[in-house]
Amino acid sequence: MRMKLAAGTAVVALILAACGGGAAQKGTVKIAINPWVGYEADAAVVAYLLEKELGYKVEKLPLTEQISWEGFESGTVDVIIENWGHADLAQKYITDEKVAVDAGSTGVDGIIGWYVPPWMVTEYPDITDWNNLNKYADLFKTSESGDLGQLLDGDPSFVTNDEAIIKGLDLNYKVVYAGSEAALIESFRAAETNKTPLIGYFYEPQWFLAEVPLVHILLPEWTEGCDADPNNIPCDYAPYNDLNKIVSKKFADTGGDAYKLVTNFQWTGADQNLVAKYITIDFAGDADAAAKAAEKWIKDPANESKWKAWLP
């Protein structure tokens, strides 16, 4: 019996340990981390300032875009720091349910489109014109695409019109889903190293473009309404001017200085790419890569005026 008593004491001690942690804080800000490094760069800098300059505690949650929006409803997420469009989600959570609010532009412009590895442009200079894509379709045939050229798509959580564009432009291509951004990046990396043909969905700003400068294939320019029919789109993706920040209604009402910092935060694609490069190359493999990258950018005197302007 004494064994049990002693074991009980140990359990009680552990429970005490469970309850004892955590000193008084100014508050916790829960930032969703969507799965691309540009996003993480934004989040890292904001988180650093929240913690070091304003004294908040920051919790980073690795989530996909849709799940992050759902987090506004349940109170799991306070901030999405870089939002790409998502008109349907904005309608649902901002307009209808009123659990989220727009917190303004990040200053970064986004591009989505079709890309090829640079060696292909050297080899086939006219490939960047979409009119020649059918001529080169044979090059892109794989075991997965049958008689058609393969157009590789990435993470299913990203916005894509590719099947509709192929139909709209009458291209002899078939979309093959890599299924994840990592698989897409690794495919482009292998294609450039081994000089094998590949065409696929990609986007900017993206840290990988610093490693392999993929070339954007220009499709017929987007005009208002050309993508109205979701099954037949004869034009390129709309440019994502001014990616924005979304915060939960509760955070907007009670977030105080933290909310002000998030609304004030605004920089450029070049700033973001620099921090993204710090994360992926300078501090590669470091568990605290994001925090160290943010620190490096903030400690650089050239950037001081930028981040000082965001502080409330």
């Binding site: 064994m3 799991t76 890599a178 299924g179 990592a182 690794e186 081994n194």
Partner: protein, 658 residues
């Protein structure tokens, strides 16, 4: 000839053997295909009504989640219990400080196994810190333990009921089958819908994944208590409650131990995936490594999972052996002395507990105990990246050739036939095949499952996935079978293989998917490679075990009558081990199916991708859920087709983590 007479004839197998019927079936299918090719197809339609129905259900729940009183009370209670458990375990493990935790597990190791186990626990946990992953590892461990406690709360009562009543067992069995084959991704989205994202959802999702093992093994343990003992107790006037508490449960202690052990293993593989619904822990480290396509960084976190799996497995295995009352009489345990459950004396136990409590207090007071010292950190990131880099550059020509050979030679033709054959012809052929191999009952179940796949508007994707699954299973059985035979006949080979098999089973597949993409491109073949890596270890283990359990007297008799080594294998060992080999094949199929969704992440498309997309995009929710159900249906179909070849496995424990 009447239809009913058919199976009797073919089972007798004198004039018309199974082989002949299979040939006839193949000929009939070929003729039917040539005549009707391209007719009665069911091409994929993304806007099918079924998908919309599921999405509407989702929207209804979403709107009523906070209004409907039943939903609010039931969901709220479950969520509060799960959330409370998670907070308790994760809180305790992360704030007690590493010296206290390491001392605690070492003491447990000493108590249940002796010095060797204590050292294994000590170095295992220290290495988590050395990898620089102490805090996430403790979060993962805490979440796992919370999910295990939930599984035991839910699973043991159901398992006991199923162990005492055949009817209960028969009723819940198909449900457990479905829970085990249903891809995790398919219920992560509904989980987030009901319980919203976070640790509580993660623990519940993990419980759903792990609880079938708890139930099955508990039921098995209760059933295996000798009937004579139960009758003797009953005749002495024991009530049902007394019978359970004093006889059945104590005698099933070993099985309960095994149930806990297997539940922990399954839960551990699942908590990695729950990072997708905002659970804390090592899964986040793996996800981050993948985001920047840094295999080495993901490898460290994967290795931490493998280490956790090994230390937990050895500790619970040892404990469950020790807690079995029958071990009192067992000579191998007798050498530990008279203490039934613990290896060391009461005084030592109290001393150990005092040390742990002291260290907890120290841990709470000092910041130094909260973070593992950086000075001793070590990472495999550099070497792993160097090795994978070398492989990618130097092997890609060979691997591309292999991928193309299998894709153009096998996958494309089979997929073409299955997707251009009329659906009724494929259904008919399935019925015939299942009837010939497993009899009429199995044939009806298999056919119903396949028709339901068509009813879910997923015929074309189902046929594509079926092609990949059948190819992956064939490769798994070929590799697993041959390595299993080698391991059974050579002790050295067996012991060399063991750590690799442990690692292949517990290393999260996300870690090796990315180098596989570099080698085989985003393709169905990459998905097959991932499935084979995951499914081969249990096949090897079961084949090895089956051959080793062939009674030595039979082997001796064959040897003395002059059989050569190969004759011994082919004419004696393999035929005698047939039930084990068939169980291995069945396990192989189940595990390959579990990896279908992982395949969707690396280019296999079809049902696997539908499930992944359903999780990622709100608008694809319905299709994703339907695809998850279709995978379950295909799994039951394949199980029924193959089960007749041998007896049905009593317990199925293994399933892929996704």
């Amino acid at each position: 000839m009447t239809a009913v007479a058919l199976p009797a004839r073919l089972r007798g197998g004198t004039a018309f053997g199974r082989g002949t019927w299979l040939v006839l079936l193949a000929v009939a299918f070929a003729v039917g295909y040539l005549i009707f090719r391209g007719t009665s197809l069911l091409p994929h339609n993304e806007d099918a009504g079924v998908f919309k129905f599921f999405s509407d259900v989702r929207d209804w729940v979403n709107e009523n989640r906070n209004a409907n009183p039943v939903l609010v009370i039931v969901v709220g209670t479950i969520k509060a219990v799960a959330g409370g458990l998670v907070d308790l375990f994760v809180g305790a493990l992360t704030s007690a400080g590493w010296p206290a935790i390491v001392a605690l597990v070492a003491a447990l190791g000493l108590a249940f196994g002796g010095w060797r186990l204590a050292l294994l626990q000590l170095f295992g946990y220290l290495s988590l810190g050395v990898l620089g992953l102490w805090t996430p590892a403790m979060q993962t461990l805490g979440l796992t333990l919370a999910a295990v406690v939930l599984s035991l709360i839910v699973g043991i009562p159901i398992g006991v009921a199923a162990g005492r009543s055949k009817r209960v067992l028969r009723t819940i069995s198909p449900v457990l089958d479905a829970m085990q084959i249903m891809p995790t991704f398919a219920y992560l989205a509904p989980m987030a819908l009901f319980f919203s994202i976070g640790s509580a959802s993660a623990a519940i999702a993990t419980m759903i994944y792990a609880v079938p093992a708890t139930i099955r093994i508990t039921a098995l343990g209760i059933r295996l208590v000798p009937a004579a003992t139960v009758e003797a107790a009953a005749s002495l006037g024991a009530t049902r409650g007394q019978l359970l508490r004093k006889v059945q449960l104590p005698l099933a202690a070993r099985a309960l131990g095994l149930a806990i052990n297997q539940t922990i293993m399954l839960a551990l593989s699942m908590v990695v995936v729950t990072v997708l619904i905002a659970a804390p822990g090592l899964g986040g480290n793996i996800l981050r490594g993948l985001e920047v396509v840094d295999v080495g960084a993901a490898f460290d976190a994967g290795l931490a999972i493998v280490i956790l799996a090994i230390v937990l497995d050895r500790l619970t295995d040892s404990a469950s052996r020790r807690l079995d009352p029958r071990n009192l009489a067992d000579a191998s345990v007798a050498r530990f002395g008279p203490l039934p459950a613990f290896a060391f004396g009461r005084r030592a136990a109290i001393a150990a507990i005092a040390v742990v409590v002291g260290l907890v207090v120290v841990g709470l007071m000092s910041a130094a105990a909260q973070t593992f010292p950086d000075a001793v950190e070590f990472s495999f990131r550099g070497p792993v990246n160097a090795i994978t880099g070398w492989i990618k550059v130097n092997l890609v020509l060979i691997t591309s050739a292999v991928k193309n050979a299998v894709s153009y030679g096998v996958l494309n033709p089979v997929e073409y036939i299955l997707t251009t054959a009329p659906w009724w012809l494929v259904v008919g052929a399935t019925f015939g095949l299942a009837w010939i191999i497993s009899g009429l009952r199995a044939a009806i179940t298999a056919t119903v499952c396949l028709v339901l796949v068509a009813a879910l508007a997923l015929w074309e994707h189902g046929m594509q996935t079926l092609t990949t699954v059948v190819a992956a299973t064939a490769i798994t059985l070929l590799i697993g079978g041959s390595l299993g035979i080698v391991a059974a006949r050579n002790d050295r080979a067996s012991s060399v293989m063991r750590p690799f098999l442990d690692a292949a089973q517990t290393m999260p597949s996300f870690v090796y998917l990315i180098p596989a993409v570099a080698l085989f491109q985003a393709s169905r073949f990459t998905a097959i490679v991932a499935a084979v890596i995951f499914a081969v270890p249990p096949v090897i283990r079961l084949v090895e075990q089956g051959i080793r359990m062939v009674p030595p007297t039979i082997v001796e008799a064959a040897r003395s009558s002059g059989a050569s080594r190969s004759q011994l294998l082919w004419k004696v060992q393999l035929p005698v081990a047939r039930p084990a080999l068939l169980l291995a094949a069945n396990q192989g199929i189940v595990m390959v199916l579990g990896m279908v969704v992982v395949g969707g992440l690396v280019g296999a498309g079809a049902l696997g991708y539908d499930v992944v997309a359903g999780f990622a995009q709100r608008s694809d929710f319905g299709e994703g859920l339907a695809a998850g159900i279709a995978i379950v249906l295909l799994g039951i179909m394949l199980d029924r087709i193959t089960q007749g070849a041998g007896s049905r496995p009593a317990t199925r424990l293994a399933k892929a983590p996704v």
